[in-house]
């Protein structure tokens, strides 16, 4: 779920922007290098950006909260292109969704980038690498990446909401309440995202293994 425009106080909005811009800057430097060395990767980058856009725009209602939830797509992008590039793709997808679908916002862009692009990419990629090191097959490792990236994204979003809306109550209590409210929708969604990520990665590994050249193919 993206935090809508205007919800986060100005100070917190700026605070989330700072790490988001730092990570995006690092991602852009890595992407610029990639474009210079391999210009043909532009097609793959654009395609994965569009994939992240589409996947993270599939709304599923959250019972009791009156809001919606959705998969992230950033773990898949992180496996194929690396977490730094995936962060840029997530940030771009969030910007376009805010502009064309009122999904997220401009002042909340930093917070949403931190949760979905940074949290989803880094957690998904870490889960993939650890799973491969533990001897998981590429499909199972990709599935773990999708599942973990999705849940970490929602844990961060719940924290951001708790920080903005906790009022006189302790942040931890409100965070636990918000995260628990998301779980009935988010756990099935995380499983679905894991299956989708695994399916796409296995398909690519079978059909066009060279696209996964940078991925750890062997445990």
């Amino acid at each position: 779920m993206h935090i809508p425009e205007g919800l986060i106080p100005a100070g917190q909005a700026l605070a989330w922007y700072a790490p988001a811009l730092a990570f995006i800057g690092t991602g852009l430097a890595s992407l610029r290098k990639r474009f210079n060395e391999l210009p043909q990767t532009r097609a793959l980058v654009g395609l994965l950006g569009a994939f992240v856009f589409v996947i993270s725009l599939m709304p599923v209602p959250v019972p009791g909260l009156g809001t919606v939830s959705h998969p992230c797509g950033t773990p898949l992008a992180a496996i194929i292109l690396g977490p730094l590039t995936a962060i840029v793709l997530g940030a771009v997808a969030l910007l376009l969704q805010a502009l064309f679908f009122a999904h997220g916002g401009i002042t909340t862009w930093g917070a949403n980038v931190f949760a979905m692009a940074i949290g989803g990419s880094l957690a998904g990629f870490a889960a993939f690498r650890v799973s491969r090191r533990l001897g998981f097959g590429i499909g199972a490792a990709a599935g773990m990446a999708g599942f973990t990236g999705d849940l970490v994204t929602y844990a961060i979003t719940a924290l951001q909401l708790a920080l903005s809306l906790h009022g006189q109550e302790p942040v931890t209590l409100v965070w636990a309440a918000a995260f628990a409210s998301f779980l009935p929708t988010q756990v099935p969604l995380a499983i679905a995202e894991g299956l989708l990520t695994a399916g796409v990665v296995v398909f690519i590994a079978r059909q066009r293994a060279e696209l996964l050249a940078g991925v750890v193919m062997r445990p």
């Binding site: 809508p4 425009e5 205007g6 919800l7 106080p9 100005a10 909005a13 995006i24 852009l28 992407l31 610029r32 474009f35 210009p39 043909q40 532009r42 097609a43 793959l44 980058v45 654009g46 395609l47 950006g49 569009a50 994939f51 856009f53 589409v54 709304p59 909260l65 009156g66 809001t67 919606v68 840029v88 793709l89 940030a91 771009v92 910007l95 376009l96 805010a98 502009l99 064309f100 679908f101 009122a102 999904h103 916002g105 401009i106 002042t107 809306l165 009022g167 006189q168 109550e169 409100v174 299956l195 989708l196 399916g199 796409v200 296995v202 398909f203 690519i204 059909q207 066009r208 696209l211």
Partner: protein, 255 residues
């Protein structure tokens, strides 16, 4: 590359007067309005902003009903905001549900936050639906947004069309071959669809990228927009007046 539309920004490509306003003026206006919307602790500011945005859409003949449907997402979030604030925020209890106290000041704060969310969403939507993506990207370059970021924005936007076209074609083909008749068949078909879609769109994109490269198309987006016209100056002045009004309302602190 960006002459097409995905339906959300039909108006942006229609040549209506709002779509002709310089995107730099629009971006600066949006930044000012969002900042005041976020900083002003009064009900009036989001109400005035919402009214101004609705008026602008009507005056610009933007198909506003579709945009209002789009606002439904942040509007539904208002339920969550009001409920959470009524419980967590404030001290003046006006009712109790079992062991949960409901606070009047929290309820008012929740309503204020909800109005802020809706008005902010309206501002962003007006920018999105009235600005062609290529002009928006040129303006982003003018504001010194890194070229690589702007390039990824354009690439992502372009691939949305390819994905949608391929998806519709492949899903129809799977349907006609009974690929979605049971849950197991559906799961297998969706996995196949996801992977094939990815590879087919990738190969198509690769071919078109090579073709464009052969024709000498560069990847960089320029920030060279034409000089502002009278329309742009008028739009800038109107926004400045609105901002002054909003700042006065915010300083009054009427809540």
């Amino acid at each position: 590359m960006t002459g097409a539309s995905h339906g959300r920004d039909d108006y942006a490509w229609s040549g209506g007067w709002l779509s002709r306003v310089d995107p730099r003026v629009k971006i600066a206006s949006v930044a000012g309005l969002l900042a005041v919307n976020l900083l002003a602790a009064t009900f009036l500011v989001p109400l005035v902003i919402s009214f101004a945005m609705l008026l602008l859409m009507v005056a610009g003949r933007v198909p506003y009903r579709r945009q209002l449907i789009m606002i439904a997402f942040p509007a539904t979030f208002a339920i969550f905001i009001i409920a959470s604030q009524t419980v967590f925020e404030g001290r003046a209890v006006f009712a109790s549900l079992w062991f949960i106290d409901l606070h009047l000041d929290g309820l008012l704060h929740g309503i204020y936050l909800s109005l802020r969310v809706v008005s902010g969403a309206l501002v962003v939507v007006v920018l999105g639906v009235t600005t062609p993506i290529n002009r928006l990207c040129m303006a982003l370059r003018w504001f010194r947004v890194p070229a690589t970021f702007v390039e990824v924005v354009l690439l992502t936007y372009r691939y949305l069309f390819d994905i949608y076209a391929e998806y519709a074609r492949m899903r129809e083909a799977q349907r006609s071959r009974l690929g979605w008749t049971s849950a197991a068949a559906g799961l297998s078909s969706s996995r196949m669809l996801g992977g094939s879609l990815f590879l087919r769109v990738y190969e198509r994109g690769l071919r078109s990228a090579e073709a464009m490269s052969c024709r000498g198309a560069g990847s960089l987006v320029s920030g060279n927009l034409p000089r502002p016209s009278r329309l742009d100056v008028g739009a800038g002045l109107a926004t400045a007046l609105l901002l002054v009004l909003l700042v006065v309302l915010a300083l009054e602190g009427w809540r």
